[in-house]
Amino acid sequence: MRNLLVATCLGSLVATAAGVANANDELKKMAANPKDWVMPAGDYANTRYSKLNQITASNVGKLQVAWTFSTGVLRGHEGGPLIIGNMMYVHTPFPNKVFALDLAQESKIVWRYEPKQDPNVIPVMCCDTVNRGVAYADGKIFLHQADTTLVALDAKTGKEVWTVKNGDPGKGATGTSAPLVVKDKVLIGISGGEFGVQCHMTAYDLKTGKLAWRAYSEGPDDQIMLDPEKTMVLGKPVGKDSSLKTWQGDQWKIGGGCTWGWTSYDPELNLVYYGSGNPSTWNPKQRPGDNKWSMTIFARDADTGMAKWVYQMTPHDEWDYDGVNEMILSDQTMNGQPRKLLTHFDRNGLAYTMDRVTGELLVAEKYDPKVNWTTGVDMNKSSPTYGRPKVVDQYSTEKQGEDVNTKGVCPAALGTKDQQPGAYSPDTKLFYVPTNHVCMAYEPFTVNYTAGQPYVGATLSMYPPPGETHMGNFIAWDNTTGKIVWSNKEQFSVWSGALATAGGVVFYGTLEGYLKAVDAKTGKELYKFKTASGIIGNVTTYENNGRQYIAVLSGVGGWAGIGLAAGLTDPSAGLGAVGGYAALSNYTALGGSLTVFALPQ
C-alpha cells in the first residue's frame, strides 16, 4: 500500500508540474513494468503479452488457486482487473461496481464504488449488461458506465473527481467498452448498433472531463473527422463526402458503426487504432450502398482525432460482422523487411495484416477454414475492387433478398471471433486467438426505426458448421503468412481473452468455466482448472511480493450467454442433438467471481 501511495503521489506531482505529456509518460513507464497490468490489454499495442516468466511450460501444471473474490453480480463478466503496485481494481457488469483491493493486506477491500443508474438502461444493452473494464492514469480510475456516464474516480479513495455523459441511453446508446488513456485524454467508444445510434469515438480531457474531440463513424466529413485529401484509403485520398455518398438520404443519422471494441495506440506514430461496428439495420436491403465507414479500421491522430487512414473490411454488411475487434500492434520482419504491423481478427472470419503507418493491406486470410461468405479479398492493387471481399451469392443475404432465409452462412453473426481479445508473443511471433466455430441462417425483413427501440430487421439461427460438433477453437496464427499454426478444438465458443507470457505459456478461459494453460509453441494443454462459472473475462498476470499470479473473472453471460445457454440446435439441417452442442447450462451457472492462481510456495 505504501509503495502505491508514494508512486501515486509522485505521479500526480510530476503530472501537475510538467503538464500533459507526463500522464502519458507515467503510463508508458508503468506499462513497461511487467509486475503491473495498468491498462485493459496490458500495453498500448494490445498484445496481452507479459514478460513475467516465473510460471513456465514445465511448472504450470502445478498451478494452484491462491485466492478468490466474489463480485456479488450475476451477469456476464467480460474484461479483467487492473493491477498497480499493491492495488487491484475489479469491475463488474451493471450496476458497474468497482472494488479496490489491497494485495498487501490479503485483498482487503480499500474502497468500493457503485453508481446509481436508471435500470431502464438494462434492456437497451444488446446482449447482456457487460462491461469490459476500467482504465488508470494520473491517480484516477476511469469507468464507462452502462448509462454512458464516463466517471473519473480517485484511485486512492474511490471518490468521484468528474463525470461526463457520453451518449443518450433513451436513444439506445450504452456503455460497455473499456476506456484508454492516451496522453492528456481519455478515449471511449459507445454501443448501440442494434438501436440505430450514430456511433463515435470521443476523447475527453483527463483532468476535467471536457470534450476534446468526437469522431463519428458515418456522416459529413467534419463529423467523421476525415480530410478528403489527407485521409487515405488503401493508398489513395478518401475524397469528399466519402461516407455520405454511401448512404441513402440521411440514413447515416441512424447508421450504427458503433465503437464498443478495444483501442490501441502507437506512441511513436501518435496514432490510435480501433474498429467500427455494423451498419443499422441488419436488413441490408433497407440501406443501399457501402455504408461507410461502418465495419472500418480507423487510424486517428491521438491529439486531433483526424483520421490518417481508414479501411472498410465489410462494405454493405449483410451478416452483422462488426469490425470492432482489437488491433494488435507488432514490429516484425515480413518478406525480409522490418514492418510496423497491425493485425486484426475480424468478425467476418478474415484476419488482416496491415502496415499501420500507411494502412496498406498486406494479408487477408480466413482464420477458420469454414468461412464461406467470401472467396477472399481482392489483393490486386490495379483492380477496381482492390481491397474488397468477393461475396458468394449463395450466402449473400442482399442477393437472396428480404423474406428469404439464407442458410449455412459461416461464420454466424457473432463472428469467427467477437470482442474476446487475442494475444501476441514476440517470443514465438505467433498470435493466440480465441474463436467461434458457428454458422447461421439469416433472414432479413423490413423494420421501422423508433428512437430507443431495437432496430434489428433480421432473424437468425446459429449452429455448428455442418458435420462438426464443436463450436470453438483456440488457434495460433502466423500473421505474416496468414496461416493457422495449431488449433485446439473447444466444445463451446472461446469467449475469453487470451494471455501470452515469457514463460512460454498461453492462457485462456472457456465457457464451461475452465482456465486453461497451453504450450505457446505446440498448443499442448498443460493445466486446467474449473472455476465457479463460465469464463468470458480476459486472463491477466501480475507479480506481487516476488510471486507471479494469473487472474481471471468468471461469470457466464454476454452474447455467448444468449444462444449458448439455451443450446444451439438446428434440427431442420438434419444435425440432430449431438452431445457436442448440448446446452451450456449443463456445465455451468451464473455468478461473478475472480480467481487468482499461483505456483505453490
Binding site: I122, D128, N448, T450, Q453, G557, G561, A565, A566, S572
Partner: protein
C-alpha cells in the same frame, strides 16, 4: 405510430372482455379461423399446426419477429438466456391480456439479487404490429406444438393480414 395506438386500444378492450383464464393459458385448440388467424374457444389468438406440420401464418411470422426483436434477451426459440426468462415457460402461466400488457408497457424486477428489466414496446411498430404473431408463436412453443426449429411448411400470408400489416407499419397500401 397512430395506427398502432388505435390497434392497441382495441386489443385492450378485447382482452379485458376475455380474461377468463387468469393464471392459465386455457385450452389452445383452435375452434375457428378469421382471415387466417385462429382463435380458441375463448376468442383468444392461438396456433394451428396441421397433421403434416404445416403451421398457420401467424406462428411462422411470430417465429421470425421473435428472433429479431426478442431473442437477444429471451434466447433462441423462447428458451431463455442467462438473464431473461424462457418465454416458452412464461406463456404457460401468462394469458393473452397479461402478455399484451407486459410487452406494451414493460416490467421491472430490480432488487438485490437480480436486475431484470423488460422494456415497453408499445411505441415500437416492429413489435407492436406483430403482438398477435408473437403471442401465437410463443403459445405454440409453450404447448410444444412447434419445436426448436424454424417452421417448415406454412399457410400463405392472408390478404387481410398484409393490408393490416402495411397500415400498422405505415407502408404504402
Amino acid at each position: 405510430m397512430r395506427p398502432f395506438s388505435f390497434a392497441f386500444a382495441v386489443f385492450v378492450v378485447v382482452a379485458s372482455i376475455n380474461v377468463s383464464f387468469a393464471g392459465d393459458v386455457g385450452n389452445p385448440a383452435a375452434v375457428k379461423s378469421e382471415d387466417g388467424k385462429y382463435v380458441d374457444k375463448d376468442g383468444n389468438p392461438t396456433f394451428k399446426v396441421g397433421a403434416d406440420g404445416t403451421v398457420d401464418w401467424y406462428t411462422y411470422s411470430g417465429y421470425r419477429r421473435y428472433h429479431s426483436e426478442c431473442h437477444v434477451c429471451h434466447g433462441p426459440d423462447g428458451m431463455g438466456s442467462t438473464y431473461a426468462p424462457a418465454l416458452k415457460d412464461s406463456l404457460q402461466k401468462m394469458d393473452y391480456a397479461g402478455f399484451l400488457e407486459v410487452v406494451a408497457s414493460g416490467r421491472k424486477n430490480v432488487n438485490a439479487s437480480q436486475d431484470s428489466v423488460m422494456p415497453a414496446f408499445g411505441d415500437n411498430t416492429n413489435v407492436a404490429c406483430y403482438m398477435d404473431d408473437l403471442y401465437i408463436y410463443l403459445r405454440a412453443r409453450a404447448n410444444d406444438a412447434v419445436g426448436r426449429t424454424r417452421p417448415g411448411k406454412r399457410e400463405d400470408k392472408p390478404a387481410a393480414y398484409t393490408a393490416a400489416e402495411n397500415a400498422c407499419m405505415g407502408k404504402p397500401q
